[in-house]
């Protein structure tokens, strides 16, 4: 398994961020995503950046791991920055190069958008880095619960999510195993013309699908054998509980929001 992208990967730990109720984390991130778009000057951006970086440090996920894991995203951030630098024609000219003129407005907007982007990615990946998929699903099921009244299949949706999440690592492992087996039989996934490489996918996909279907069938059978019959009246092994830490974080976050409204410029 290669780890080019860490979004969606859980790093076990026992930090404050890990121990927060998943609903707390999801709610805060939900609002964070909105307020990032309200920041519009140095003070407000600094405030949000400090909050995000502080959460990252508190989570005790190795920083090197986060930085390396976000490699593809870095590329995107740099790309947006450069695009703004070239395209935006506001403010005063600060530099000239060949036929290009760079404006102060472009520089500022480039930085602002990049920071915004970085904050969004950092905070959302922090959620998956510190919360197990099962916790996330439980939280979503719990938060969508009111929709039940409108005949929205909340439990089924959550079940589908947790099953998919549960099987992603399994499928990745399986892919790894089968591609090793086929590589041993002379398939070359890494070099050669594109056409050959695309063809090389068939010996990988067919066994993968066969085993995925087999697993699905076995799982359905096992669930039925253990008397699964939908969400009605089902109790939970893991109860979600809001604790002191969660309340503390909510209050802290309320201050961040208040601070944001105080520091941002209006008009």
């Amino acid at each position: 398994m290669n780890n080019a992208l860490i979004i969606g990967q859980y790093v076990p730990g026992d930090s404050l961020v890990h121990r927060l109720d998943p609903r707390t984390k999801i709610t805060i991130i939900f609002f964070f995503v909105f307020i990032v778009f309200l920041a519009n000057n140095i003070a407000s951006y600094t405030l949000l950046t400090v909050f995000a970086l502080a959460s990252m440090l508190t989570s005790r996920v190795p920083i090197r791991f986060i930085i390396k894991g976000l490699t593809p995203v870095w590329f995107l951030i740099v790309f947006t920055f450069i695009l703004h630098l070239f395209v935006t024609k506001e403010g005063t000219v600060i530099a000239e190069f060949w036929i290009f003129e760079f404006y102060s407005g472009g520089l500022i907007q480039g930085i602002a958008i990049s920071v915004r982007f970085f904050l969004l990615i950092l905070v959302t990946s922090l959620l998956t880095l510190t919360t197990t998929p099962i916790e996330i699903t439980d939280a979503i099921e719990d938060m969508l619960h009111p929709l039940n009244r409108f005949k929205f299949p909340v439990h089924e949706l959550a079940l589908m999510m947790s099953i998919s999440l549960r099987f992603i690592p399994t499928l990745l492992q399986e892919t790894d195993k089968i591609s090793r087996a086929q590589a041993s039989r002379g398939v070359d996934f890494k070099t050669g013309p594109v056409k050959d490489r695309i063809q090389a996918i068939v010996p990988l996909l067919v066994p993968l699908f066969v085993s995925a279907f087999k697993r699905a069938e076995e799982l359905a059978m096992a669930m039925e054998a253990r008397g699964y019959q939908g969400g009605e009246g089902r109790t939970k092994l893991r109860e979600l509980k809001i604790e002191r830490n969660d309340i503390f974080i909510f209050i802290l976050f309320a201050f961040v929001i208040a601070g944001l409204f105080m520091t941002r410029t209006y008009g």
Binding site: I178, A181, Q182, G186, T191
Partner: protein, 290 residues
């Protein structure tokens, strides 16, 4: 082909919080033409080890030499195809690698990738099918319609059709019925002798290791725990038990015999018949004494 491991360490997912050292500072040598059994408790690094034999994994530290091929961090050959055509690997549950429409096509897949001419492949299929104990009637069937045991045999046939010099077997009989297990192991043994192969066998069965191997390598938590001939290894019952391994039934029997009758029969990898004769001899002597 001679195989040498020199201070090999392998780390999965290096430089991440998930880094895991699966093999540590492992050195050993496998002589060309021999059968070596690799034994170890689950998770001891056996499968990781054998992935170094055809370049699927390159050592994080140290060096692996297979014939004239060298694998290390400083020396990573770009094209592993030739190495892979000379080292055939039968993975744990190899039936998971089947994908073609017919059995014949699936067996032909490996040789085709390695550039064997079609006419030669046809010949080879004719040879390997009976060798793995299948009949020609399966050739045009879909591999997915076969029983588990038959699928296993097709997958093995696909590896044999490449005609490797080194055969690497990762628990080739796991999950088969006892008779199928014996058939398949006997088949590998016959092929080994007929085609002068070098065979590396990963197994949980002490009986197989005793019966087929020239040398045994025991792994424990990614390091070499013991190495030697079956006689040397299996005479150290306590050491083996300390890493959750048993000794073969034969050795157990001899130990119990000694406990009960106070007569020692040294273990030299004798056959059941030989042991029976020795016991007869001892009983005769005891009777004469009286």
């Amino acid at each position: 082909m001679d195989i040498t491991f020199e201070n090999v360490t392998y780390i999965y997912q290096q430089n991440t919080p998930f880094a895991h050292k699966a093999i540590q500072d492992l050195s050993f040598h496998i002589e060309s033409g021999s059968i070596v059994a690799i034994i170890g408790h689950t998770g001891s690094g056996k499968s990781t080890l054998i992935q170094h034999l055809n370049g699927l994994s390159v050592p994080t530290e140290g060096e692996v030499r297979i014939g004239e091929y060298r694998l290390s961090q400083e020396h990573k050959p770009k094209d592993m195809k030739e190495l892979r055509s000379r080292v055939g690997v039968v993975f744990q549950y190899p039936e998971h690698q089947l994908f073609e429409e017919t059995v014949a096509k699936d067996i032909a897949f490996g040789p085709q990738n390695f550039g064997v001419p079609e006419a030669v492949i046809k010949e080879r299929i004719k040879d390997v099918i009976p060798a793995v104990g299948l009949s020609e009637s399966v050739l045009e069937r879909s591999p997915f319609d076969l029983s588990g045991g038959q699928m296993r045999r097709v997958a093995i046939a696909g590896v044999l059709a490449v005609k490797p010099d080194v055969l690497v077997l990762d628990e080739p009989t796991a999950g088969l019925d006892p008779r199928g297990q014996k058939e398949i192991m006997d088949m590998f043994y016959r092929l080994h002798n007929e085609q002068d192969l070098t065979t590396v066998l990963v197994t949980h069965s002490m009986e197989d290791a005793l019966k087929y191997a020239d040398r045994i390598l025991i792994l424990n938590k990614g390091t070499k725990f013991m190495e030697g001939t079956p006689e040397e290894v299996f005479s150290q019952k306590e050491a083996l038990q300390s890493v959750q391994l048993d000794v073969p039934e034969m050795v157990q029997f001899l130990n119990r015999f000694e406990e009960k009758f106070g007569q020692q029969i040294p273990f030299r990898n004798q056959s059941v018949e030989e042991i029976a004769q020795m016991i007869q001899q001892i009983i005769k002597e005891l009777n004469q004494d009286e």
